[in-house]
């Protein structure tokens, strides 16, 4: 654990219907120190109250990227600077 991680801000980004349901495209905050994995973060979001509780009610429908790379539910947050939430992609 670096000092940067425990004191630094993380940028959270929201895309597609997650952006619409949270009403946010981006926020900067200091994550609670006990959030270690993507799963922890999704659980925390679902307990954050309106509008996050509804947006994150079905975490299995949500994909997460840490610093521009896809991250699985068990992945560790580590010293992530930017974490993004979005539905499964539909480009192409």
């Amino acid at each position: 654990m670096t000092e940067k991680q425990s004191t630094g801000e993380t940028v959270l980004r929201y895309f597609a219907w997650l952006r619409e349901r949270t009403g946010l495209s981006e926020e900067r905050l200091i994550l609670p120190a006990d959030i270690l994995t993507v799963n922890d973060l999704l659980l925390w979001q679902s307990r954050r109250g309106h509008p996050f509780d509804q947006a994150f009610a079905k975490p299995e429908a949500i994909r997460v990227a840490i610093d521009h790379s896809h991250a699985k539910p068990a992945a560790e947050i580590g010293s992530a600077r930017e974490i993004a939430f979005f539905p499964p992609v539909t480009g192409g």
Partner: protein
């Protein structure tokens, strides 16, 4: 190797000429163009909006492209994906791969499209004639198409 995310349309002939240049080692060029369809299930489409994740999109397309070059014998490749608002018939995506032999070009273009559809952070929202808007849901068949490469390609 090149990737581009752009609101602007592309010209297939121009992009192909630029990509092949004067490389006479190229024997086959495989091109795929994805277009906006006018129907969404039983309903007619008015427009489609494509949102993406600037920064991650480019990184992901470059990763996918590099993987294609590891798996296939490619002389050159290009991925262009458009973002913004589109009408039925508009171009969405262009993939071009060049190789000495057609098999590598065919394989690489299919591989790139399958991975692009399941990994690149783009999202489509449809506006229907009825006035409804809705986010397109990911198709299981796309996940299966991408997953198939894991077993046969590595």
């Amino acid at each position: 190797m090149a990737v581009r995310v752009s609101e602007a349309d592309f010209d297939v002939s121009e992009e192909m000429a630029r990509l092949t240049g004067d490389d006479t080692g190229i024997g086959g060029v495989s091109i795929f163009v994805g277009k906006v369809r006018g129907e969404a299930g039983a309903e007619k489409l008015v427009s489609m909006t494509l949102e993406h994740y600037p920064g991650m999109t480019e990184a992901e397309l470059e990763r996918i492209e590099a993987e294609a070059h590891r798996r296939f014998n490619l002389s050159a490749s290009l991925i262009i994906h458009r973002v913004g608002e589109f009408k039925p018939g508009d171009n969405i995506v262009l993939v071009i791969t060049c190789s000495p032999h057609r098999g590598d070009a065919f394989g690489a273009t299919a591989f790139l499209m399958d991975y692009l559809k399941t990994c690149a952070p783009f999202w489509k929202k449809e506006t229907l004639v009825s006035g409804t808007t809705r986010w397109v849901e990911a198709r299981e068949s796309d996940d299966e198409a991408a997953a198939a490469w894991v077993s046969i390609g590595k």
